[in-house]
Symmetry: C3
Subunit: 390 residues, 3 copies
């Protein structure tokens, strides 16, 4: 109860005075996990300053004798988040930058909710894509996302997106149009990337969170996403931002000059990515699996395919405190015409200790990587990461 | 009325207790257009965290067949502003950085008001110059400033400035001494740039705002500014910051090496810039015109001149809601000795929709550029920009 | 007294209601020198946003005729600090970035106080080293630290540190393990830097502050620190961050390629740094002296030594207002095998004017540098610096 509540109950002030006093009181507070939150009395304006940080220690035991093992301390993430709404509760905005090493602009967008099933968002953010990539780095089961996700994600981009949900989040959709060259870059032509996603939650809303919080109600999510883009010499010359790992890692376009691109692939290369996932959680158990399929179709020569997936499960031995996790992930691209070839897998075991859910936790994991194309490349990695929201 | 007001009126607390309670209450609030504002009870300390953002979509129809048209989403500006006063109300400070793509330090200064007609400011900020450049990017009639201003502005610099106003802002002055090589750079020699400006407001204070807000009182501003600097080989070798468009664009010194500079111009080059403007606003109509004249005088060879201007007008069809604008701007530099030659004009039509003045608005415009020196360079540009303060 | 205090005293609310109201009131305020401070009622969560800035004017009269004298305005520092505690008062965090020119990540750490004599800190911060380097740039007697400190400091690094104090800060210790390649870099091998420090304060706690605040109780600090690291070709190739001046300036490893390193020094180079200081303050007088001794021992060839020291004293003519200071500092490295040779001294006189201690002050000093190795290199420097916390 606030002082205003108490004085109203005692009859010191009237209901009208109570309303008046509340309208003019300071509405600024610290809220764990959110930061400093400042609001106008009618809620039409809200500003929130906060963020989260990840400090990481990594020991890598390289298979190759030619490489020194590394023992490395690292600021993995240190996010500055400014978000809220203005003019009305329907008009939201968000800014996120990473201050871990200099300053990287990540999210910068506004959105307007015309109705529950229809919100328009404009600016820089993550396009519709795989569920693991869309789940915040602060809500993962492991310190890092999976090998498959790190190969086939679209990262962030600049564009416009429509989204909404139907029947109490039973069905959610997002579909957008993007520059397609990653964040913080300009589009050198008038080609765009299209990206869409459907989420089906038959047992009710399923939040983007990989941990298995205690709950006696099972939850289920079935999702599918697709993205399509056409790349030309101008995009390669324009130095698309490496945040888009389909173009950077899976297609390795970053390794090509504009001239080489044209020689190899002709006028353009069209790629189409499909992902599908099944996630479930019940009584401390969490399960997530996702499949990525990429088809690349150059103007010149044969098209090729690349694939990846992960399967992971977690269990909270001590509810909301101690969680164990295992994951297997693999990626493959072996068509003869492929611009990047890989055949790799990863097996991981992890332990999470939660002080206050994702607001303060420790995560440790052990990863064994198996590279079938490169000899002496089967490395072992140990990670210990501290995460906190401020 | 605050809770303190109510309790005093009801006689629950005395006037003394009222004063005491107010002195010790939290003075932190969200203020639209300003952000989170925190003050000490006596007002001697104040800190404000906020900023404004511009998210832009641009379609450019290039005249040249060799170029792809571009369809581009862009974070045009995302400003972080920290400002306030300390120790006393007379001692102010401001920091502004742009987080649109990484982090660019813009304003960083302190000032002290000795008396209304005399304030000293020290640090990094915009030197006295053309009115359009001094008017915040958030208070322009169009999404972008004019072609003439983008050719002849001084951007930001490091230095010290005296300013003040006389007879209730009837007359305002600023005069300063600057490093002269742009922001975030060091001065490689002991040459300085001088910059001054006089504003005459015969009908009372005229704020730096290009929109035509409804008002039954006409306003008039007549201004003149001048800046002078001497450039030597050391400045060109020292890589002056490209924020100064007189040096970067109008003189194209950025295109020269230090050795070329000496070969072409000898020991030094002196430039002198004059600008003059006439602005007026009444009943939703806004008018602005400004002329830029630059003279460059090298140690070796003949001096030359370059000129530019813009004329613009706006009208708020629906007061404080819907505004139309037109602008014409031209630049010319055709003396045979000129380090940069240009002969270009721009014609623009625009529409602004205001949700809450400059705190939340949409701006769209169509621009036709006419380049008389380069063939196939008459481009058409469409812009749509969302702006909001947070 | 707050409104809650007044209402409780008057009997309008009970002690229980008083506690309840306080628990739910907004605990956000502006605190000079700290910034905006937001807390939870139990103090277990606290967030503080603020920083300090230094704006500097420097005139350098170069001895060499070949160089122009420079007259330079500069944003010397503009710090953004986010700090506080979370979950409990024992769990602290701090972030500090410098926004003076772009954004440089400086501190980013968490710590946990297991007990008064034992706190563990993890992340990026200044390792245990010389007292002058550990004393904030905002609490120096002069605008800049000494020549000796600028040659032999370790700057910031990534790692883990244990620290604590015994018998009411009579004795303080810190000892840590670090990547050893400076901040914002990764460790290319599994070598680490070790750094430790002991502070003996026989007359009670001695804060890291070089000014001589009025006090009728004398204070004394005797400190000793040591750091050790082994550098290999991988570190030189990995481009250690130049923030570590032992490696960058005193050993000039930055001037070597990886191949040159191996040719000159073999497999590795081990360095050991010792510093010791004596600081004292009483009745406005402040005294500080510190000695730095570096030994470098390469795998190939003879080892060598480099040394430096400073002695400085200040006196507050007008207590807490006007302070005078003098300093002498020298550095020497003349062994034949040394990777960097120098023999330089610096004599300085300064004046400080405090508005509100280190929260708002002006500092000016005059420095004469004497270089015994390079002819025509005896420069004179004048500095004027404004500092304020926001």
């Amino acid at each position: 109860k606030t002082l205003e509540d108490i004085l109203k109950e005692k009859g010191v002030i009237t209901a009208e005075e109570y309303a008046e006093a509340n309208k003019n009181k300071s509405l600024v507070s610290y809220q764990p996990g959110k930061g400093i939150v400042a609001e106008s009395a009618d809620g039409n304006y809200r500003a929130q300053i906060g963020g989260y940080a990840q400090l990481l220690y990594t020991f890598t035991d390289f298979d190759s004798q030619a490489k020194d093992d590394t023992s490395d301390f690292n600021i993995r993430r240190f996010k500055l988040q400014l978000q809220g709404n203005l003019v009305s509760k329907k008009f939201g905005y968000k800014f996120q930058g990473d201050m871990k090493n200099g300053f990287t602009t990540e999210d910068a967008f506004i959105n307007y909710e015309f109705a529950a099933p229809f919100t328009l968002q404009f600016g820089q953010f993550k396009p519709a894509q795989a569920r693991q990539e869309l789940t915040s780095a602060s809500r993962q089961l492991f310190p890092e996302r999976s090998l498959a996700n790190d190969t086939f994600n679209l990262g962030r981009d600049l564009g416009i997106e429509a989204s909404g949900d139907i029947a109490g989040k039973l069905l959610e959709y997002r579909v957008g149009l993007f520059s397609g060259n990653g964040p913080n870059t300009s589009n050198p032509d008038n080609h765009h990337m299209l990206a869409g996603r459907l989420d089906f939650n038959p047992l009710g809303e399923y939040k983007m969170d990989e941990a298995g919080w205690p709950s006696d109600k099972p939850k289920l999510n079935l999702g599918v996403s697709s993205a399509w883009s056409k790349i030309s010499e101008a995009d390669v010359a324009g130095n698309f931002n490496r945040d888009n790992d389909v173009m950077d890692v899976a297609l390795n376009l970053d390794g090509l000059t504009a001239a080489n691109f044209t020689t190899s692939f002709g006028n353009d290369l069209t790629w189409l990515l499909w992902t599908t996932n099944l996630n479930a959680t019940w009584m401390g158990i969490s399960f997530a699996s996702e499949y990525y399929h990429l088809n690349a179709d150059p103007d010149l020569g044969d098209d090729w395919n690349a694939d990846g997936y992960y399967v992971q499960a977690g269990y909270q031995l001590i509810p909301s405190k101690l969680e164990l996790g295992v994951r297997y992930s693999a990626i493959e691209s072996d068509d003869s015409t492929a611009s990047a070839k890989f055949d790799k897998s990863q097996i991981q075991g992890g332990v999470n200790y939660y002080f206050v859910k994702h607001n303060a936790k420790l995560q440790a994991d052990f990863t064994h990587v198996d590279d079938d194309l490169v000899a002496d490349n089967d490395d072992n990695i140990f990670r210990l990461q501290a995460q906190f929201s401020y």
